[in-house]
């Protein structure tokens, strides 16, 4: 499957990927509304870790054998058998944080929305659960520090 790979040597810590991710995962898909007006406020799933001297975007790897799926107690976290995309279904997620603690990359986060926790992770910008789209973080990256390709780099 095509995956997003982050290349540390080209990451410039601008965090445009975070902005694009948040915009895509908003109801309006409008950056200004996503940041300023939408409630509950949309969350970005990609995060840039590090500082200006060394940084990298942390994104879900959509693992072959995902620990988050293995550990999920509610059946919310699934790996699509056809596309291989790992997604969390917010209707089933109970916010138990098992996935968050199991993920070896720190790519899943539980975020509070109106007092209830939900697992947030990269869904490859698919329009429905388990479908892969065209990742908006990759499109927003000005330096090809995020690439969306079949194999590793």
């Amino acid at each position: 499957m095509k995956r997003i790979y982050a290349i540390e040597s080209w990451c410039i810590n601008c965090k445009r990927c975070e902005v694009a991710c948040k915009t895509f995962h908003s109801a309006s898909r409008d950056t200004v509304k996503a940041f300023k007006t939408e409630q509950p406020s949309p969350r970005n799933r990609v995060r840039v870790e590090g500082s200006k001297l060394l940084s990298i975007a942390v994104n879900c790897r959509h693992c072959e054998h995902p620990k988050c799926v293995e550990g999920c107690i509610s059946g919310a976290m699934t790996k699509d058998p056809l596309t291989g995309v790992v997604t969390s279904n917010p209707e089933k997620c109970v916010g138990c944080r098992t996935c968050e603690s199991l993920c070896p990359f720190g790519a899943v986060r539980i975020e509070d929305i109106q007092g209830k926790g939900f697992a947030y992770k990269c869904d490859l910008c698919g329009e429905s659960l388990g479908a892969a789209g065209e990742p908006s973080c990759v499109a927003a990256c000005p330096n090809k520090a995020l690439i969306y390709v079949e194999s590793g780099c």
Partner: protein, 501 residues
């Protein structure tokens, strides 16, 4: 002491669009932008803005624009704000004013006064999409006479070393140290893909670029940085740099803080020491001395590489070029006063030298009059802005052109002129790792290849319109040019007729 210098620019932020994401803050090495948590908005320190426009391009919501500082001048045409600010700066620091990039002053740009011809009725124009259109150029000396073995259809006379260019443009010299390795790498990759050459500048050839050395012109300047037999033999040609259009008569000074381990190894000088290029070559005080260096280099490279000599366009350029041709150079590169630089004293940049258009035309004429034009190729540089400028330069007698500012602009340079600060936000004129990382050669080389590809198509279109199907038929073909708004003296020097004639 209170600083009387005013900000030059004002950062305009559309508060309706700003989402306080902080991309601008993280993008600016000059620390102009700051997300102020207390105020709940992004604030700007206008004084620090150099108008590189990185934030403008990076802002996800296009909330930023930069304007001039809205300070009215005195109304005097003599004491302009620019002159008064220069005085304020020097009164504060007591220093020579430093500047970067090319001469920005409103001197005549002769390219803009030369119009191109096209065929109508009496000779057919050529459609470059349907018919072959040759853009290949060979640079170097041509033999006075060719002996050909008719039976085997082979040239038997010894051919001098030449450079083969698939497009009539090369990237001019920019040294590692003044620009980042990623920038040189981008140009090297682009030159290789385009079948042309990049120029190492005076800073040596970095080991990571050795793989591209077939497409490198290696430069020998007055500082002789990084020069050894390996370096001379690595490149496709060697260029002796006598002068640079942006600062004729002036040497160079790369401050010690820019001499990191990599620059030190490539330039073969100790880390942290200033890299000083003297104004003259201390072994060249005459044409005879230049001839000695040219032939020393030819000996060192077994006469396998053409030797170029680069000079700034100055008053007596035609006679100097004649001397260079007679000294044995294969290529003469003429750099006009609008050519760029990483750092030059402002008064030199803005007041010394002459336009390359006039220099090129008079050099070409002088060499033809003396019957030595074919012994040498002429490359013109110094602010070639478009494919039309290239067509004009070739019609004025150039074999090819050097481009650098245009290539840097393709990489992201916005001509802010702050190269010498070492804080280039585009990752070009800097050695800071967090900034050089911003220029990914994979993207940058593609942008340059796109630019040159587009220009080549345009050159073919313009030549086709003239009914010409090769650069060789355009070279020195002044009938393809007509002047507009030029006086008789200017027309005479350029060797072109006025429009309507």
């Amino acid at each position: 002491m209170l600083d009387y210098v005013l900000p030059r620019y004002k950062v305009m932020r559309d508060v309706d669009l700003c989402v306080e994401c902080g991309v601008c803050e993280r993008s600016c090495s000059n620390e102009v932008h700051r997300v102020d948590e207390d105020l709940g908005r992004v604030v700007a320190d206008h004084m620090k803005c150099v108008n590189c426009q990185r934030c403008v391009v990076m802002c996800p919501t296009r909330a930023i624009s930069i304007t001039k500082w809205p300070q009215v001048d005195t109304g005097s045409s003599n004491w302009t704000l620019g002159y008064m600010q220069d005085i304020a700066k020097q009164a504060q620091t007591g220093a020579v004013l430093l500047s970067s990039m090319g001469n920005p002053e409103p001197y005549p740009i002769y390219w803009d006064h030369l119009l191109l011809n096209a065929s109508q009725v009496t000779n057919p124009s050529i459609d470059p999409l349907r018919e072959p259109m040759e853009t290949r150029v060979f640079l170097g000396s041509r033999p006075g006479m060719l002996k050909v073995n008719e039976r085997s259809r082979q040239v038997v006379s010894a051919m001098p070393a030449q450079l083969k260019l698939d497009v009539p443009m090369m990237f001019s010299a920019m040294s590692f140290g003044s620009i980042s390795l990623n920038t040189q790498m981008s140009l090297a990759m682009a030159a290789t893909e385009l079948g042309t050459y990049f120029n190492t500048g005076e800073g040596g050839l970095h080991q990571d670029l050795e793989g591209y050395s077939d497409h490198a012109v290696v430069q020998v300047a007055s500082g002789r940085f990084g020069v050894d037999p390996h370096y001379l033999n690595a490149g496709a040609a060697i260029e002796i740099k006598i002068g640079q259009g942006a600062k004729p008569g002036i040497g160079g000074h790369l401050p010690g803080e820019k001499i990191d381990a990599e620059v030190s190894r490539t330039r073969m000088i100790p880390e942290g020491t200033d890299a000083i290029s003297p104004a003259p070559h201390h072994d060249i005080y005459s044409i005879e001395d230049l001839r000695q260096l040219i032939f020393s280099i030819k000996e060192a490279t077994l006469y396998q590489k053409p030797v170029s000599v680069k000079i700034a366009a100055v008053h007596n350029v035609a006679a100097i070029a004649s001397g260079i041709a007679r000294a044995g150079a294969d290529i003469i590169a003429i750099d006009g006063f609008r050519g760029g630089t990483g750092a030059a004293p402002k008064r030199i940049r803005d007041n010394v030298g002459i336009p390359v258009e006039l220099a090129l035309a008079s050099v070409d004429r002088r060499l033809r009059e003396e019957g030595i034009r074919s012994t040498v190729s002429v490359v013109a540089g110094g602010s070639i802005r478009s494919s039309a400028d290239i067509v004009r330069a070739i019609a004025l007698g150039a074999d090819a052109v050097y481009i650098a500012s245009a290539a840097l602009i393709a990489l992201g340079c916005h001509q802010c002129g702050d190269c010498s600060s070492g804080k280039c936000n585009w990752g070009i004129a800097t050695q800071r790792p967090e900034l050089t990382r911003r220029l990914n050669p994979e993207i940058a080389a593609e942008r340059v290849v796109n630019l040159i590809g587009g220009w080549t198509h345009e050159i073919q279109e313009m030549m086709g319109g003239m009914g010409i199907n090769s650069i060789d038929s355009l070279r020195g073909n002044r009938l393809m040019l007509r002047g507009v708004g030029l006086n008789q003296k200017e027309l005479d020097i350029l060797g072109v007729k006025h429009a309507g004639e």
